[in-house]
């Protein structure tokens, strides 16, 4: 691709643009990271230094010792996000496979229904979901956070498209060998679906981990909070203790960042897939 870089100057300008935008992207993160290692006095001094003058781990120690619920919030977030992810992987794949491969009465109707569900804005279902969870006695509980989100129409659709493009010969051979439908699905199909599953894992985990609206609506006891809610309360309690708030934010960001670092290829695939579905 020499078409744009043919000219020396254009190529220089391109790289300057890239570097400037990389700085715009990174500066807020670096600024937050550096604050999490600074004592409060250094933060309020008004100096703009990205390398802490008095490097300290005290902020991290403080949020674990002085905020007894912080560990609990971390645990809640992990428990909920992991459950939601595993259940989504199972249920969306099962449904996607059925829609792609199995012949059953009403299949077309259910497929169209799932497509229609894709278009429903969350806000319309939010209030009724709250009332339904209330009727179940599931407000302020793990199941209230997990069950409504353990299936996702977008990913059912994605799995269906993925399985449709699968060569059916393997499954036919497995059927001749006497494997049942579920056996074929579990032993033959799922292992081959790893790229789609990886993309799904990342996107589902991330959206559950970062979810703010559902917990703010259904969780009200501090012990049950997930990290986003916890962080928000934290902000209220520690107004202007930005060193502690930033340390907590960094801990919250780390798991997703690690996931992203290892699986960023699948991230991109997942985004392009959900982007290309139109």
């Amino acid at each position: 691709m020499k078409r744009l870089t043919g000219s020396f100057w254009i190529s220089k300008i391109l790289y300057v643009l890239l570097i400037v935008y990389a700085a715009i992207t990174l500066i807020p993160f670096l600024w937050a990271l550096s604050a999490s290692f600074k004592p409060l006095s250094e933060i309020v001094s008004g100096e703009v230094n990205f390398i802490p003058r008095h490097f300290t781990l005290a902020n991290y120690r403080q949020i674990f010792t002085e905020e007894p619920l912080f560990l609990r919030w971390l645990f809640n977030s992990v428990a909920i996000a992991v459950s939601v992810t595993l259940l989504n992987l199972t249920f969306n794949s099962l449904a996607g496979y059925a829609l792609a491969r199995l012949q059953f009465r009403g299949k077309r109707f259910w497929f169209l229904l799932i497509l229609a569900v894709l278009a429903v804005p969350l806000q319309v279902t939010l209030i009724p979901t709250f009332l339904i969870l209330k009727a179940f006695g599931w407000l302020n509980s793990y199941q209230g956070m997990i069950v409504p989100g353990m299936v996702n129409a977008t990913f059912i659709f994605m799995m269906r498209q993925f399985f449709l493009n699968f060569p059916p010969e393997l499954e036919e051979a497995a059927a001749l060998d006497g494997l049942g439908r579920f056996g074929i699905f579990w032993y033959i199909v799922l292992p081959l679906a790893k790229p789609a599953l990886a993309a799904q894992t990342i996107l589902v985990f991330m959206s559950s981990w970062n979810n703010f609206l559902l917990p703010v609506v259904i969780l009200f006891e501090p012990e049950m909070f997930t990290l986003p809610l916890g962080l928000n309360t934290f902000k209220g309690e520690y107004i202007s203790y930005w060193n502690n708030i930033m340390a907590a934010s960094m801990i919250f960001t780390l798991p997703v960042l690690l996931l992203y670092a290892f699986f960023n290829r699948y991230f991109i695939q997942g985004v392009t897939f959900t982007g290309g579905k139109n």
Binding site: K2, I27, L94
Partner: protein, 296 residues
């Protein structure tokens, strides 16, 4: 359409429904039922006192919308937010994608860096930006250093929403950049070569080949952008502690729905606002589809 050869029909029906059962159960309970329930709620006056009591009020909830000053404020804020953020983030996404696609070195490294805000939670981003937006925060110090006016970004009603706009353009554009990048890679190189032979310069090739071929993607990016921006909630809630302040400057439709449900306990009326929001999103998406028609 595929393989009826595998298994007899009756068991196939049963297996099909077994595979579908969890999905149908959950989507039925938490999407389909809620939609019907929402329609019902919007026609009722709902009392939440221990139990739940309904009183049929017909279309009165919808009639009330027009006279509600806070609905107009939220509508105005949300509309302004959508009108500025959607075009800006689309343009920025396109610009970044085209730059990355111009044959620069280390393309995937740049992409990894740029994508970072997209994977970070809205809560964390909002907290970081609240700190940067502080009266003596990083942004104001930077503005002062280059002799530009500084603002009370969070406390001044005139700029509070602008602050959220800036942050969200910054954090969402890379998501759409990835979608543009994928589309750019699908454009056959031969088209550009042919245009070059015909004497088209870089700008001409972009204008007459790239842009028209990206039209379906641009429609998608704008449609998803409209849906996402209309639902602004987290950032407003965190910055204003749920109040929509300062002076209602960050009050959005979703925040208003939240307030009517949990502060005023007016579920029926809140459901009516939710339908107003849904209707707006649908109408604007249809208008966009019209404007972009001719493709798919």
């Amino acid at each position: 359409m595929t393989n009826q050869r595998l298994k007899p029909r009756t068991s196939e029906n049963l297996v099909g429904y077994l595979f579908m059962a969890p999905a149908l159960l959950v989507l039925g309970t938490f999407v389909v039922l809620p939609i019907l329930y929402a329609v019902f709620l919007s026609l009722q006056k709902v009392q939440l006192l221990g139990g739940i009591e309904y009183e049929f009020v017909g279309l009165r909830n919808f009639a009330r919308l027009q006279a509600d000053e806070r609905v107009w404020i939220a509508l105005h804020n949300t509309a302004e937010y959508v009108a500025i953020v959607v075009p800006s983030q689309t343009l920025l996404a396109l610009l970044l994608a085209v730059t990355l696609n111009a044959g620069v070195r280390g393309k995937s490294l740049w992409r990894v860096i740029y994508f970072l805000p997209t994977v970070t939670s809205s809560t964390v981003l909002t907290l970081i930006f609240m700190w940067i937006y502080n009266t003596n925060g990083l942004l104001n110090r930077f503005l002062a250093a280059i002799a530009l006016p500084t603002y009370n970004w969070l406390g001044d009603p005139a700029v509070a929403l602008k602050g959220i706009m800036l942050m969200n353009i910054w954090s969402t554009a890379p998501f759409f950049m990835v979608i543009y990048l994928a589309a750019l890679q699908d454009i056959p190189q031969s088209l550009y070569e042919a245009a070059e032979i015909d004497g088209a310069n870089a700008w001409g090739r972009f204008w007459f080949i790239t842009l028209p071929l990206l039209k379906p993607v641009t429609f998608f990016v704008m449609a998803i952008g409209v849906i996402g921006t209309f639902q602004l909630f987290d950032q407003s809630y965190i910055i204003s502690n749920g109040s929509g302040g300062p002076n209602n400057a960050t009050l959005t439709l979703v925040l208003l729905i939240y307030q009517y449900v949990f502060r005023d306990l007016q579920m029926g009326y809140a459901a009516a606002i939710a339908f107003l929001l849904a209707a707006l999103i649908i109408v604007i998406t249809l208008i966009q589809k019209r404007l972009f028609s001719g493709d798919r």
